[in-house]
Structures are given as structure tokens and as C-alpha cells.
Amino acid sequence: MNAIENSIREIAKQLLCEKKVESIIGYEQGRIPLRSTPCFVDRVEDVQRLVWNATCDINLAKYLTGRKGKTAIIAKGCDARSIAVLLNEKQIAREKVFIIGVPCTGIVDRKKVEEKLEGKEIFDAAVESETIILRGEGYQSTLPKKDLLCNSCVTCKYKNPPVCDVFVGTKTLESTEVDEFSQILPIESESAEKRWEHFKEELGNCLRCYACRNVCPLCYCKVCFVDQTTPEWFGRTNELSDTMIYHLVRAFHLAGRCVNCGACSRACPMNIDLSELMKKIEKIVKERFNHEAGISAEKTPPLGEFKMNDPQEFIK
């Protein structure tokens, strides 16, 4: 058990004992190697289940909306940013949530690990600070962690939560050298035709399982436009025109709100890196409106507010 886990458990215990919260949303060890799973703790004896490591991939802010009673939540940088957006958009009340901030050094992308192992089965895995040790039938390999992080973590600028009630551990050094948009440079510089081909190929694999939407803390619409039937905006097939509309409209809906936590990419069973599309939109919003999502709960996303002096330069 690491020092951060220890502190998390102590804080969780205290919060429950002092009845400051009704439950804690955190992570516990998953049943398969390199996986963690959300853990809902409302009894002191269960705080021992809480863990924190580089496999804590799901964005727990997802589970905050609609919860009754005050809830404490373990939040890494991107989770806390999602919570800030939810607070700004009044989806949760500030007094109903207690944010336990944790420093993040990046989440392991299990798809990159699988790719590296070329389909070899993992029997067990240990994630150290710099390396990942994997063991399976007839092999043991130690791989550098930095090569196996999620794309969104590689270019992350907010590894520590910008909003929290208590911070656990030591702050991770934020990188200043990494170009946060380097991931999209190769595709961005292509011609429109090539970009179209690229997204056609990527999204052509989409199953329409909506894992990307359903793990996204900011996809909280009571009825998503894809589920509306009167009118039915577009078809429910997995043909390209339908899947493309789904992903593009969802991307627009998240413009200026997405914090690029990468939960959608991690959830996709078909290995589609949706954060690539979102990163481009993030860049446009930053260039046009000088806005970064989720840095504070007070700042409203540019597409969520109205100003009389909006330049509206696109209207000719």
C-alpha cells in the first residue's frame, strides 16, 4: 500500500465517522490485471478497499450526478476538472460534494499494453512509479510506464486537481515542455480529404455501444439526442453516416466543456481514440475564446454564456 492510499483511507474513515459525508466514491482493485473498478464505500470497515494507482482509469465524476446525500470523491486532475464543469453547470451542488484530490502521474493505457504484448495473456501486473512489470505464460517483462500512458495523459497539463477540498500526497510536477496539442499535429496538418479518410476509418469501427457517452461525466443529458424518437434526428444503424453524426454532434456538445480526461478512449472496446477529435475542439476553443475547461467552477464555458459584445466575426 502506498502513502497516498493510506491517507485516502484515513480521510475516508474520518469523513464517515464524523458523518461529514454519507458515502465515498473511490477505486478498488479490479478482478483482472491492470484494472481498477469503482468502489462505493458507506461503512467504515470498507475503507480498506480503497486504492489509488496508475490503473485508476474511470472518471469517477460520472457517478456524482443524481446522488442523494453528501458524497466524497477521489479525484485526479481531470476528474476534478470535470467536477468543476459539473458545478458550473449546476449539475451538482458544491455543498453536496467533498473532493479528495490526488496527484496523478498518468494512467496506464491497457490497450497500449495489449498491443505491446501482441495478444499474450497477462497473469499479473505490478505498476511501479516508473515501470510496469507484467508476467504471463513463459514471460516476464518490465516496461517503462511513460511509453504506456494514455494519449490524454501524455499531453496533460493538469495532473493535480485545480479544485478540491483536501489534497493528498505531494503535487506532481506539471510539465511545461510538452505541447498539449502535439497529439493532433500529424492529422491536423493533413488535407481535408486525408482527414476525412482518417476519421472514416476510425469511426467506421464504432459499435454504437455508447460506452464513450456513458462514461463521460459531462454527457448527462436526461435524454440524449440519439435516443430521441419524436423527431428521430438520425438513424440508429452502425453505418458510417449515422455513427459519424453521433460522434460529431457529441463532440460539438462537449466543445469548451471536455477536459480531455480520455475516459471515452479508454472505454471504447473498438480502440477508437476519441480524445483525438476532442483535442482538436479543445484547441479551437482555446484559440478563439482563451478558455480551458474545468480550471475553476466559476468560469462558464464559452458556448454556455451570452455576451452583448460577442464579436460574432463569423457573421458576414
Partner: protein, 338 residues
Amino acid sequence: MVEKSKISKLIKDLSKEHEVFAPVKRKGLVSFKRVSEGDETCLGFQNTKKPPKEILFPQTQTLFTFKVDKNGVEIDESPTTNRKMVLLGVRPCDARSFALVDRFFSSGEFKDPYYLRMRENAAIVGLACSHPSSTCFCMSVGGSPIGKEGADILLVDLGDSYMMETISEKGEKLIGKLPWLKDAQNIDMEKTRKLRVEAEKAVQSKVPVEGLSKKLDGIFEDSLWERLREKCVNCAVCTYLCPTCYCFDILDEEADGGRRVRIWDSCQFSFFTAQGSGHNPRPSGKEMMRQRVMHKFNYCVKNFGENFCVGCGRCVRECPANLDLREVIEKISSAEIR
């Protein structure tokens, strides 16, 4: 027997009369694709991300096209084809899933012509598992890593070549068209027998499904479901990647003409049971989760005499929240009925 170096020849010969589908690796993803001679197949994989069910039960399937005008309705059923297919390299769990899904599509008063036509025209060439994954639990639900159910031929990996065992008449016909195959020797049979024992032993994951159906009868209203579903995000990963999930919806794309399409649907969507009145009998994740478990391990047992789970472990591996079906079953099995 077929040597591994001759797989391409096998595909070439089968392609003369059939469309051949086999696992192919593209951008790190192993999935069933139409292949022809010379295409690189990936038979050394654990299992494909998506089960091969989509070949016989496509996610989007045009049933017919139609036109409505003042003279009435005109229907064109030509989109449905009678193409002959070979599904090569289907793992025993997935092969068995066809045997199960067949019961759904062919039972009762109305048979499903769209599925059954494709199924009849498809030969399943299974591929035994020498190294089952840690998430495989086929042995708990009536399958085996070297199981034959649902397959017409079974390939067993014996190192440099595959032993081909014919299982059905369809399989025999297929083999008959490949006169260049070598006969298996006693030593190959012996190797296969040994492999079976080893592979079955290698399925470590066990799930307690004995008596589960009866148990489920008693816990429909139990508060347990609320706990079990807490981390479920209600996406369709588990159902869409499940080889035995067969739920679908049917849509007419336009009122005055167009296509009638069948698409996959999932009990994990709130839309699945939403009624025209606005009422939804399964309003929350709790009911949706319960439906998935009940359907697989209770209703199907009553209707078809089998659990509709083949233990492939896809839902276990791919769940974004790592909600593990094995754990769900364990919790249900050990729950006390009040």
C-alpha cells in the same frame, strides 16, 4: 490434417464456392473479416474483440426495401442474399453460441428467415483453444476449450499443422472438396487427446451457475440489484460483444419508401423498453442490469433449457467499469433469499 503453411491454400480453395471469413489483425484489433487467398489471417489469437455473430446477425441488416404511393406498397426483398459462407477460426465458445442463438431464431411459431437463411448457408470451422484466457469460463457454463457444439469442423493446433475433425455433414462436404488434406495419424489423435485434458485444466475461472436459475426466481425484487448495478454505466459493451445476445429492433427509415432495417438493440439502454406513452417499465439501471442477468440465466433456461452464456469472458474484459459478470453471479449465488 492441414499444415499451417497451407492455410492460404485452404482459403483459396474454400473461396471458390464460399465467402470466407477469418480473424484478421488490423491496427491491434483482431476481428472477423472477409478474406481471400494471400490475406494474412490471425489464427494464433486469444479471441476476437467482437464475436462472429455479426456475420450471421449483422448489426445493421436491410430486410427489404419498399415504396409507398397511391397504387399501394411495393416491396423488394432482393437485398437478402443466399451467399454461401465459411467462418474459419471460430473459438469453441463462439461456435457454441451459434447453437444457442439458433434456438431463439428457430423456436416458436415464427421462424426468423433472415437469420436462418444465413445460418444454413454458413459452415463453422472451429478452432480449439490450447491456451484459454484467465477470463474464460466456458467449462462452468457447459462448454469446453475443445468443444464441438455449433461447429461443422474443428481445428486443433498441433504445432506445425492443424488436425481437422469433421463434426457434421456440412463439415464433411466441405472437407470432401479439399482432396489434398492429409489423413491424421495415430500420434496426432494422441496429441489431440492430451491437449484436450490440458486445455480443460487450463480454464481456471469458475462461475457458480448451478441452481442459479432457481435462485434468480426468488430475488427479482431484492435490493441486491441496486448494489450490483452501482458502477454500471449502462453502455452496451457487454451485450454488443456478447455472442449470445440477440435482441434487436426494426426500423422503417422513411414512411413513404426506403429500407426496413434490423439493428442490434440492448437491454442496457433506457430506450429499449421506453413506451409510446412515455412510461418505461425498466426506468433505471437496476432493472436493466437485472434484465440482462435474468434473461441469460433464468428466462433462457426456462425457454431453451440452457444458460445463454458461453463463458467467452468478453463482457468481463471489456466492461469500461470492470463490472465483472463472474462476480455478479458469485454475489447472487451467495445471497440469502429473504
